[in-house]
């Protein structure tokens, strides 16, 4: 396959960036997208040009490290697929492909396609946990959890924290990310005692980081490589409202949707 890539190049956080074009004359359909970039980078090094910086690690769609806006879509055209799991057979011979970093105020560019997503870690620090010290846990089977609740919690817990939801949102909102964590823990009995404080603290940290508001465009859901749905945002909104009204944990267990 012959391809023309247009890639965002930016030396550092304070430098101006620009799109630069590169030919890739010999991509193969079996290659992954990142392997195609490896091939480009090897060639750039041979020519004495600095290779394109991009984040990646597991290359299995689970660590959440990779993330490129490909032809305007975070992680590219294949639904429910991270950049590292995208294969070149998704593209056609002769295609022009545009590669850009996540763009959001809360995710400043570090270099080329690499951005700083530490805001997500701070949102977790604000309350995305169950406060249980090592060694203090009761016997694991002492609290049964209905299978449907465990499954729903798992649906939310699959979030890989890649930030595609933010990159896809016209407001650069982090509602899908935050709601996935709030829901994962809020659905489980183990997470209920702190549910009200958790949602308030995480939402307020999210705002402080400069993420935008949710205006229900649902672009986040479409971009999410783990198919996490906007129903978790609705669930978080309910949890938030409830917490704000009562300012103390709900009395009931709140297991179902």
């Amino acid at each position: 396959m012959k391809l023309i890539l247009h890639i965002w190049r930016q030396r550092g956080p304070n430098d101006a960036g620009k799109m630069v074009s590169y030919d890739v004359p010999d991509a193969s359909p079996e290659m992954s997208f990142l392997e195609m970039l490896d091939v480009l980078n090897e060639r750039l090094i041979e020519k004495g040009e600095e290779p394109v910086a991009f984040d990646h690690d597991c290359r299995e769609g689970i660590c959440g490290m990779c993330g490129i806006v490909i032809n305007g879509i975070p992680h590219g055209p294949r639904p429910a697929t991270t950049t590292c799991q995208l294969h070149m057979r998704t593209f056609n011979d002769g295609d022009q492909i545009f590669l850009e970093p996540w763009r959001a105020k809360a995710f400043p560019v570090v270099r080329d396609l690499v951005v700083d997503r530490s805001a997500f870690d701070r949102v977790i620090s604000a309350g995305g946990f169950v406060s249980v010290n090592t060694g203090s846990a009761p016997e694991a089977n002492s609290v049964p959890v209905a299978k449907k609740d465990a499954d729903l919690a798992m649906d939310a817990a699959q979030c890989i924290g890649c930030g595609a939801c933010v990159a896809a949102c016209p407001n650069a909102s982090a509602m899908l990310f935050t709601s996935a964590k709030v829901s994962h823990l809020g659905i489980l009995p183990q997470g209920r005692p702190e549910a009200a404080t958790r949602v308030q603290k995480m939402v307020s940290q999210m705002d402080a980081e400069g993420f935008g508001n949710c205006t229900n465009t649902r672009e986040c859901e479409a971009a999410c490589p783990k198919s996490i749905g906007v129903e978790f945002i609705a669930r978080m909104n309910r949890e938030y409202l409830c917490a704000a009204l009562t300012d103390r944990p709900e009395a009931e267990g709140g297991g179902g949707v």
Binding site: E30, M31, D57, C58, M65, H87, A126, S136, P138, V145
Partner: protein, 639 residues
């Protein structure tokens, strides 16, 4: 002079050792804990659980990882599950059986006392994780579900779909983030540790490079924990994440920590075969697939018909044939070697004949497609995405790949290396898995080390050690900073023509060909001769563009490859000296007439711990003899 390796295993009966040791270890007064600073390098399951637990106890902790967030450590990729001796299935499991299986599975090259402790702790790990909100799979009654996994006959594996590592790390990482929020842990992401600082012989600090600004600086403290994961990427192609490396433990080795059993590497039988030259990593298909999939190759050599056209009686279900009682569930080393043997006979399938079938046809007929989709849907999807083949219709093609490394820095029962104050946790230590790790045991070990062992043993060390404060600008720190800066400058200064990846691939091929699934003296000697030549060429011809004062991914890679180039040679030396076959280490000269591994307990029932003797010098071998009080060595038989 050889070093005396003190394992510090407590005396007394096996079942009571850990309990007794916990009582006998000294405690640090709660008010004094905050006076100690502990540096934790790595935030995978081992590092994150250690950092969080130590901070909960009141220690000041600084934690480091090279990814942009602690949540992305390679532990996140573990799929299949985590073992624990809960016996929830009432199928005969117990602490003793998990202990027994692990010692036997490790082919009698692990320390019994460590393994017993691991089995004891396994049950508390599950309690801890459930309390943190880890959404393990459950039965309809609301209780936890279990499955059997990788070479065991009881169901003791806990799992969260095919994403167990992710969910366990999303238990440990928030625990760590909570401590960061409380100010008890200071976190340094995108920071790579490049050396250890010793003061009066004890580990007192580390030198790191900030990967964004390029700044090289020191951090000091009272103890250092390395939880930096495995070195599978020595082979270039492996199931490990691209960033996995040996640098942290190799640098510690060069400062005096002994490296144990580096040749014990695990090859996983169920990975997607290589598809081309550009291949950058191999993808694991969880071993849980072997519970329902049947492995076969054509009976005839060179039979190139599509799988569907090969009739039942012309298929060789070679694992079921050779190992009737374990069948497709034989341990990893056995399954991998059998696949290699079938391919070596010319019966392999797919491009290049390097693959065997993993067939779900029978299981789908028996259980229905829906049940299979419920169990393995995400794995099937992943397979299809990568290969463009639908495993519900045609059998999967799989081939073994490097997956896990049992070797690592030598540690005593307290997880301390031969450098006082330098502790090693998780896959980075030489671990409790002997010569072969059973499935679902690495997650267990990482979390045992981090949550339940290091919090005790580090206190014991600190309470006994007399440590004076070391400032980050002390002469010892400055000297190491200078060395690290010098090495970085050297990498940038060669200005050669070849990329770090090209060297890495070359080394990986030498390792895989000579120190992979089958090893022999001639091949290993060839590798020991070849690797220094590649190393020499590396330092003459490496190209690292750009500067050191910025994010420079080539520079990061080059540094890691340079260390692999030294470490690879040691690995081959270890493999050459071990004149026996055991676990993942198969020496072709040492096999039974029917091709099974032949151990030599008389000569090799020891841990090989290698000592760095300086650049260009031969490493020196030290031995820790292994004794077996309870699980007496026999030939492992899975027939």
């Amino acid at each position: 002079m050889t070093i005396e390796l003190k394992s510090n295993i407590p005396s007394g009966p096996m079942e009571g050792k850990w309990e007794k040791h916990r009582f006998e270890m000294k405690l640090v007064n709660p008010a004094n804990k905050r006076k100690y600073t502990i540096l934790v390098v790595g935030t995978g399951l081992a590092g994150a659980s250690a950092a969080a637990s130590l901070a909960e106890l009141g220690y000041k902790v600084k934690a480091f990882c090279f990814q942009d967030s602690p949540r992305r450590a390679h532990s996140i990729a573990a799929q299949g599950g985590i073992n624990a001796a809960k016996n929830y299935c009432n199928d005969g499991d117990s602490v003793h059986r998990l202990f027994y299986d692990t010692v036997k599975g490790g082919d009698y090259r692990a320390r019994e006392a460590n393994v017993h402790r691991l089995a004891e702790i396994s049950v508390s790990i599950i309690d801890q994780c459930v309390a943190q909100g880890v959404p393990f799979a459950r039965e309809y009654g609301g209780l936890l579900a279990n499955r059997s996994f990788g070479g065991t006959q009881v169901s003791r594996t806990f799992y969260a779909r095919g994403q167990t590592g992710q969910q366990l790390l999303l238990g440990a990482y928030p625990a760590l983030q909570r401590q960061i929020g409380l100010g008890a842990v200071q976190m340094f992401p995108r920071t790579e540790m490049l050396d250890v600082i010793l003061v009066n012989g004890a580990a007192r600090g580390i030198v790191v490079r900030n990967l964004v600004t390029g700044r090289i600086e020191s951090h000091t403290g009272d103890a250092v924990c390395l939880a930096t994961g495995g070195y599978g990427n020595l082979f270039y192609l492996s199931t490990n994440a691209k960033g996995c490396n040996v640098t942290a433990i190799w640098r510690a080795h060069r400062r005096g920590a002994l490296m144990a059993n580096p040749c014990f590497t695990q090859i996983h039988p169920t990975c997607i075969p290589v598809s081309g030259e550009y291949q950058s990593k191999l993808t694991l298909m969880s071993e849980s697939l072997r519970n329902d999939g049947r492995i076969w190759v054509p009976k005839e050599k060179g039979d190139k018909r599509p799988a569907a056209q090969i009739p039942e009686d012309q298929r060789d279900y070679y694992l079921e044939r050779r190992y009737p009682s374990f069948g497709n569930l034989v341990p990893r080393d056995v399954a991998s070697r059998a696949a290699k043997a079938a391919c070596d006979e010319g019966r392999g399938v797919g491009p290049g004949g390097l693959g065997v079938y993993l067939d779900f046809g029978d299981a789908i007929r028996r259980l229905g497609e829906k049940t299979i989709a419920d169990k393995y849907g995400n794995l099937f999807e992943m397979y299809e995405r990568i290969t463009d083949e639908n495993p519900y219709r045609t059998p999967m093609r799989i081939y073994p790949a490097i997956h896990y490394t049992m070797g690592g820095l030598w540690v005593d029962y307290n997880l301390m290396s031969t450098i006082p104050g330098l502790f090693v946790l998780g896959e980075a230590n030489f671990s409790d898995h002997g010569a072969n790790r059973l499935g679902a045991s690495a997650l267990m070990q990482g979390l045992a080390d981090g949550y339940f062992i290091i919090p005790y043993t580090i206190g014991h060390y600190l309470a006994n050690a007399k440590l004076e404060k070391v400032e980050p600008d002390a002469p010892a720190c400055k000297a190491v900073i200078e060395e690290v800066a010098g090495r970085t400058a050297r990498l940038l200064g060669v200005k050669g023509r070849r990329s770090p990846d090209s060297f890495h691939k070359e080394l990986g091929k030498v390792m895989w060909d000579n120190c992979g699934m089958g090893r022999n003296a001639a091949g290993l000697q060839k590798a020991i001769q070849r690797i220094p030549e590649i190393r020499e060429e590396f330092w003459k011809n490496i190209s690292v563009l750009g500067t050191g004062e910025q994010l420079n991914q080539q520079l990061e890679k080059a540094g890691r490859v340079a260390d692999f180039l030294e470490f690879g040679e040691l690995t081959c030396r270890d493999a050459l000296h071990r004149e026996e076959s055991c676990g993942g280490h198969f020496r072709e000269e040492h096999q039974t007439p029917d091709g099974e591994a032949k151990r030599d307990d008389e000569k090799f029932a020891y841990v090989a711990a290698w000592e760095w003797k300086g650049e260009g010098q031969k490493p020196e071998l030290n031995k820790e003899p292994l004794t077996f009080e309870i699980v007496h060595p026999t030939q492992r038989s899975y027939k």
